[in-house]
Every structure is written in C-alpha cells, then in structure tokens.
Symmetry: C2
Subunit: 156 residues, 2 copies
DNA sequence: TTACTACTTAAAGTTAACTTTAAGTCAATA
DNA sequence: TATTGACTTAAAGTTAACTTTAAGTAGTAA
C-alpha cells in the first residue's frame, strides 16, 4: 500500500529527484517517513500530487503551489483563500486557452500560406494575391500577422 | 518609416535588450543597420517579429525559431520544410489546448469542492458526499483527480 | 563644441525548475 | 555478515531566456 520515492516517481512519470525537490520546497507536507527517514507515499498522496501536476501544467510557480499546500495544511480556516487561488488559476487558464487559439489562427494562416507557395513553387505567388484570395476564415489572422497598417499595391 | 531598437521594443511591448538578444541569436536576420551600426526596424520587419512572438508564445524554443528564420532566408527551396515546421507547431498547440482544457476541468471541480466546503464551513462535508452528489459535469474530473483506484467507504 | 540620450557589444548576472554528484544510510538477500 | 540497490541530504551544476553592467559610439540640440 506504500510507495518509495522511486516507485511513486515511476507511477507519476517524473524523476525521483523531482519529487525530492518538490518535498524540499515544501510541496509535499503530507508525505510521511519511516523511522529510517525513507518517504512513504500512500494512495491519498497521489491526489495531492495530481493537483500539483495540474497547477504546474497550468503555469503556477512552485512558490505559489507551496502557498496553496500550506493553506491546505492549516485546515478549514483557509477554505476561502484556497477558493480564491483556484478561481484565479481558472481565469489564467481561460486566458491561456484564448491566447493559444489566437496563435493557432496565425499558424493556420501560415499553413495555408506555405501550402499555396508549395503548390506554386514560390512564395512570390502571394505577391499577386489580395484579401479575397485568402480563405475567409484566415483573413483575420493575416491582418493580425501583417499589422494591418498598410495595403500593398497589387501586381505592381 | 524606421524604428530604432527602443522604438520597436516599445511598439512590441518588450524590452530593448530582448530584441538585441533575439538579434544576437540569429532570429532577426532581416533587420538592417545604418552605416553607424544602428538597427533600423522597418514596417515589414514587424511581420517577422509577430510570427516570432506567435512561435514563442506557443512554446517553440529560440533555437527552433532561429532554424525557421534561417529557412526563410534561403528562399523558395525551403518551403516544404517551413510548412512541416508550421504543421508540427500547429499540432503542439492543439495538444496544449487539450491539456489545458483537461486541467481546467480539475480546477472546475476544485472550485465546486471549495464552494461547497465554504458553504458548509468545513471540508469534512465532502466525506459524506458520494459520486451522485457531485455535479455530473465534474464527476470525470473528480475521478481523474482521485485516481479512481478505490472507493472510500461512506459515512464510516 | 559640448552635452545628452539612446544606441552599440561583450560579458557577467539572474531566475526557475530541475538534475547531478558526493558521501553516506537503510533494508533485503545470499 | 557482507553485498547490493535504492534510499538520504547538501551542495553544486545545468538550461533557457533573458537582463544588467561596463565601456564606448552615434546623432541631435544648444
């Protein structure tokens, strides 16, 4: 029912040194030790580790994750603050997704750009193309990419 | 019609040292200089910079961005390879979005968890709750978070 | 011509998040 | 009891992406 640091690391797909580092940074106050000082990860510890993974993957720095874990340790009096941290992180994730979607549009435009150039054998094919030659769902991204400041004279 | 490094940095919302660093790393081969050696950013340079921003924000390392810029410099013979790089990056972005959405679900569950705990004044309220007490759209996230390995005896 | 501000480079410094190393300990097996 | 492999800590090393510093140059305004 218990895992050593190596077994826990394998189960989580991280290096043992990573778990020791997290422990040293105070992210794993819930992990107990044997008399000999060896860490014993129990089933329920993996729930905390899964949350840490979630916070890390959504860009929360180690220090802030430690803050959250400290709040968990003090008990019920910190519920409101924990809720606030979760809500702030949720909003950051929504922003990240929006940002990625916007950048995805630019990559979609570039995909079309190079597909078209590849078919023509040269990027110069785009010199004679205007907005209506660009697939409608990519026009906004093209504007975004090119700054939309000035219109290039076509066919000149 | 030209920008110094400081003006370009301001327009892009980055530090001048960042643009100098990018230039040193070979990301800005298109930026020209005055006789005196001062960088002159022209309108069209901002298109390249916008693409660099896109690649950076989607997690591409500086080295790979340099690779892409080098490909741009060689001309039409590198179109296919540039297309491949764009396509690979597109897929990474789709993966990132999926990952973020999954982690968002966990945060949504935690939001509900702490809202409920806050209302009850204690996290212990969750000890007496079972799967059907969890909003249906959050059950999957709860399973994900708790590993779903074992069912806790209720009310014991 | 003298200030003055922003520019230049090279090199060193910073930060986050690990990873590696060194020296030693624990626990199970031959 | 001795060996083996995984564990322990502290401290140093790594990497990416900048930022800062130092020493000097460019270009403009008085």
């Amino acid at each position: 029912m218990f895992y050593t640091v190596g077994e826990a690391a394998k189960r989580l797909g991280v290096a043992p040194s990573t778990l020791r580092y997290y422990d040293k940074e105070g992210l794993l106050p819930f992990v107990e030790r044997t008399n000999g000082g060896i860490r014993m990860f129990k089933q329920s510890d993996f729930e905390g580790l899964r949350l840490i993974e979630c916070l890390k993957k959504t860009g929360m720095p180690i220090k802030d994750i430690k803050r959250f874990m400290d709040l968990c340790s003090v008990g019920d009096e910190s519920i409101s603050e924990r809720l606030e941290m979760i809500d702030r992180q949720r909003e950051r994730v929504l922003e990240q997704i929006e940002q990625l979607k916007e950048n995805l549009q630019i990559l979609d435009y570039k995909h079309w750009y190079y597909e078209t150039a590849k078919a023509a054998g040269t990027c110069a094919v785009h010199d004679s193309l205007s907005a209506q030659d660009v697939p409608s769902d990519l026009r906004a991204a093209r504007e975004n990419l090119e700054g939309g400041v000035q219109e290039r004279a076509k066919g000149s």
